[in-house]
Symmetry: C2
Subunit: 157 residues, 2 copies
Amino acid sequence: MDELFMEEALAEARLAGQAGDVPVGAVIVQNGQIVARAHNEKEAGRNAVSHAELLCVEEACRILQRWRLSDCTLYVTMEPCPMCAGALWNARIGRIVFGIKDPVAGACGSVWSFADSPMHWKPETTSGIKAKECKELLSLFFEKRRQENDRRKEDRP
Amino acid sequence: MDELFMEEALAEARLAGQAGDVPVGAVIVQNGQIVARAHNEKEAGRNAVSHAELLCVEEACRILQRWRLSDCTLYVTMEPCPMCAGALWNARIGRIVFGIKDPVAGACGSVWSFADSPMHWKPETTSGIKAKECKELLSLFFEKRRQENDRRKEDRP
């Protein structure tokens, strides 16, 4: 089941990449059903808070009409940043499943770990689900961006 | 000037309290002008991400049509939580001014400190501005809530 829902998060991530944003996607699942889905829209929406996970938590709360998501699981292609991990904490999410780790800004174990903090919130956390696909999507995006930047440099008079 | 803008954040905090939310308010200032203002709407909006600072960053980005707020200052009555400090970091906010510290979930020095992290973001941070007023507002709110809870218990058959 984890692979199935991560595939849906990957579909969201592809939408972000097509719009020129770093390809990260997320879905929130309750009782085996997707209740919210979102992708990174930071550049497209010109908004610092428009990360996939935060938008997904916002949407799930709107749909379920409550701020507490302890019966829900978040699937996201990359480890959440401090803002997003903080949003998951504020929502008391029950479980977090992510694809690849983020050694630069990961807040679910890589750089910070809120779940190990003195807060009464210990979500089950699983990483590495469809990690190859999640990583490939990001690598292709950054490779394409590098090539575009190089072309722009060559075009300069 | 800091006292003046914190007074505006306090006005927002009072609106939150009147609506039944923990009274925290925030404003974002650019070139001596308030560009965004918001208050905690977690309970009223039934949304885990609707903290004053996050809503304020979201609004400032929408108004300025960019995710980078490095020329802006955030004023907030209480020290930001991890989600909100993370949002300020994602927006590369230039300066943070808060009223009182939060020993339970403060992420600007009290429990966590993103600004001391290996990230290239070192906002100027000032605390203690109008701290007495910020604290009084919170104390009154929680005292009122305790009294209401006690009354409810007494009313039980």
